[in-house]
């Protein structure tokens, strides 16, 4: 197996004092940024254990909110639906997005500029507009379908997933393209000269090189899907509620620490998934 070219990366051999000072400054910056990123998360997690029912003050430790959460089938179901949609749409949009990025960066073809514009539109479109357009589209095409085949479809997790894929593909494409730019094509040519076929070249040369971009794109897609409220609301159907919709409604009355609790649990699930995948990857 070819060694991944990525391993040559961290170039730390000729480390002089200036460079290490630079790295130190970068490290300090990173720590500060992490503090900024995690400050609200610490608050959020801590306040899932507060006794205060407003969830805005620390008045003592309790596990009560978790107990109530576990009894709330509705909220748990919504959380599972959300994870399901986020995972499915991330997988599909990452694959499609990577393929599209390859096509856009490697080839010149007629209509490329047009397609380029089409690719940016889902990023540019205001969410409410895409949501209402999809709502009209699904309702209309389900009507036609029923007329033609008698099949009666209903909006639900399927339509939400389709919609999420449609708006996350573009984000994946943008990130993967950034890593494809400046890609040294000679590496691929070299591999082919050495007798590697198309697929082998892709798997052993191209993929490892653009993998950071792909992972970045997938992470973006996952994050966007988890948080989306507007498109989700308009493309879901009876009985399939998702977490953002549930939480938005709660703002009207009061967000209780129960919501902090479910956020904490989802954080734990996500982190576990990440560590599992890391673990598996390292074992291979």
């Amino acid at each position: 197996m070819l060694d991944t070219p990525t391993t040559r990366k961290p170039y730390v051999t000729g480390m002089d004092s200036r460079r290490s000072a630079g790295m130190l400054a970068l490290g300090a910056h990173t720590i500060l940024t992490m503090v900024f990123l995690y400050a609200p998360i610490v608050v959020l997690v801590a306040f899932s254990f507060t006794r205060d029912s407003f969830g805005v003050r620390w008045t003592g430790f309790t596990l009560d909110w978790y107990r109530r959460l576990l009894a709330d089938q509705r909220l748990l179901g919504a959380a599972l639906n959300t994870l399901y949609v986020a995972l499915t749409s991330t997988i599909v949009s990452t694959i499609i997005g990577t393929m599209t990025a390859l096509a856009m960066e490697r080839y010149h073809f007629r209509g490329r500029t047009g397609f380029d514009a089409l690719l940016y539109l889902p990023i540019v479109i205001p969410e409410i507009v895409m949501a209402l357009a999809l709502l009209a589209f699904f309702a209309f095409s389900f009507g036609i379908l029923e007329l033609l085949s008698g099949l009666r479809l209903q909006m639900g997790l399927g339509t939400v997933t389709i919609a999420h894929i449609a708006f996350t593909i573009s984000f994946v494409v943008v990130v993967v393209r950034a890593s494809l730019k400046g890609f040294d094509m000679r590496l691929e040519e070299a591999a082919q000269d050495l007798g590697a076929n198309e697929w082998q070249t892709f798997r052993h040369i191209t993929l490892p090189l653009i993998l950071p971009g792909i992972i970045g794109g997938a992470l973006l897609a996952f994050t966007l899907s988890l948080d989306d409220f507007i498109i989700t609301f308009f493309t879901t159907g009876p009985g399939t509620s998702l977490l953002p919709v549930e939480v938005y409604g709660q703002v009207k009355r009061a967000i209780t620490p129960k919501i902090n609790a479910i956020s904490t649990l989802m954080l734990l699930v996500s982190i576990t998934l990440v560590f599992l995948s890391q673990f598996i990857q390292r074992r291979r």
Binding site: Y84, V92, L132, A139, G158, F234, G239, G249, R253, R284
Partner: protein, 395 residues
């Protein structure tokens, strides 16, 4: 890099999955309903003999197994839905919206899949005019007799052909008695700059294009449906003058912020003032110093209503459910849970003493207050309110 061997497989599976996605895949762990497939035809639960309840002969063979209820968030006591299921074997699936316009958009697109929804007054009119609602069979709603006649036959649905009252509320001023020992009786407490500069940054107005301009119009002595440009301009200027002192336009967590003392006074719905006063079950504790008043210049009244959608395949079951919700004991329980007012006059008698005491304090209108309340109507002229609100927010 071994794991990428599975990539094409995952891809195919995912594509197929998503392609069949039109018919919602059975959702993992969706405990409160099917994935949303087609409504099951009238499958009869256990018993087939007609049951006598709610003053209505219910033919159980005609009941569906599920009923889809599209409702405002936290706007129904879940234990009531469980009781309904116990009594009739019909599972009620609830989904949530938080604006009439969002709900109408989904229903208007067609095949929303819902049976019963709860539009506000003006939205009922919009919906029946667009043919989105089914006419009600009054013979199936004997419990309608418990409703306060003063809340029937309103402008948005003359003769209640399409809708029955669900819950209603009034809009006025909620305040903290600690900060206002002499009470509040006028909109001046929210608009007079000499007064509001004392609690600058500690009060809010509702974030709604009819509520806040409506309050300003009332303060100026107009009807809250006034669309005369000169009057609207005055209201707009008043709101702009008020803005620097305002903590926020807030229609969401006014209850919490009043209770916690972050706001000392606020333009508020009676229900959220009530929640600030007595708390929200065990989710949220109340503040005994919160009071609510309809100012002497007047305020707004509004009502949410139950309607059956024209494309509902379960109209029979929907009527049974509606009649169940109109039962006085159920209406009282629901009003107590939600915190808004029940139009069910027989149900109101059944409320706990402490709630009735709060009603008397001003959280519900009495005969005298009712005269000062106005419905916000929607017509071709009231489009002007959108411009007023945009101008206020654009400053």
């Amino acid at each position: 890099m071994q794991r990428f061997r599975f990539l094409p497989l995952i891809m195919v599976v995912a594509l197929v999955l998503a392609a069949c996605g039109g018919a919602p895949a059975a959702s993992p762990g969706n405990e409160y309903g099917s994935g949303g497939a087609t409504p099951e035809p009238t499958a009869a639960p256990a018993a087939t003999q007609p049951a006598q309840s709610d003053g209505l002969e219910v033919d159980r063979t005609k009941l569906s197994t599920e009923l889809r209820f599209f409702n405002w968030t936290d706007y129904v006591d879940p234990s009531i839905l469980e009781d309904f299921e116990k009594e009739y074997g019909v599972k009620v699936i609830v989904d949530l919206f938080d604006a009439n316009e969002d709900m109408i958009a989904k229903v208007r697109a067609g095949r929303s899949g819902y049976d019963i929804v709860t539009p506000s007054d003006y939205a009922v009119e919009t919906m029946w005019r667009e043919g989105l609602l089914a006419k009600l069979d009054k013979a199936m709603l004997p419990n309608l007799k418990h409703i306060d006649p003063g809340l029937l036959d309103k402008y948005f649905d003359p003769g209640n052909v399409y809708s029955v009252p669900y819950l209603y509320g009034i809009t006025g001023i909620a305040y903290n008695k600690q900060n206002f020992p002499d009470g509040v009786d006028s909109w001046a407490a929210l608009f007079d700059t000499a007064q509001i500069e004392k609690y600058s940054g500690q009060f809010s107005m509702l974030d709604d294009e009819r509520e806040s301009p409506g309050a300003a119009l009332k303060y100026l002595g107009y009807s809250l449906n006034e669309t005369d440009p000169a009057a609207l301009k005055k209201a707009q200027d008043l709101l702009i003058a008020q803005k620097p002192f305002l903590a926020a336009y807030n229609s969401s967590d006014v209850n919490r912020k009043l209770a916690s003392g972050e706001y000392v006074i606020a333009h508020a719905w009676s229900g959220s003032a009530m929640q600030a006063r007595s708390g929200l079950g065990d989710e949220f504790s109340g503040n005994p110093d919160i009071a609510f008043v309809i100012p002497k210049e007047g305020g707004m009244i509004w009502m949410d209503n139950m309607v059956i959608l024209a494309d509902s395949p379960n109209a029979y079951t929907a009527h049974v459910f509606m009649n169940f919700m109109l039962r006085p004991d159920i209406a009282a329980r629901n009003a107590e849970y939600v915190g808004y007012l029940t139009p069910n006059k027989d149900g109101e008698q059944l409320l706990p003493q402490d709630v009735i005491a709060l009603y008397k304090e001003g959280f519900a209108p009495n005969e005298e207050v009712l005269k000062r309340l106005e419905w916000a109507v929607r017509n071709e002229q009231t489009v002007a309110f959108t411009d007023v609100w945009t101008a206020v927010k654009g400053e």
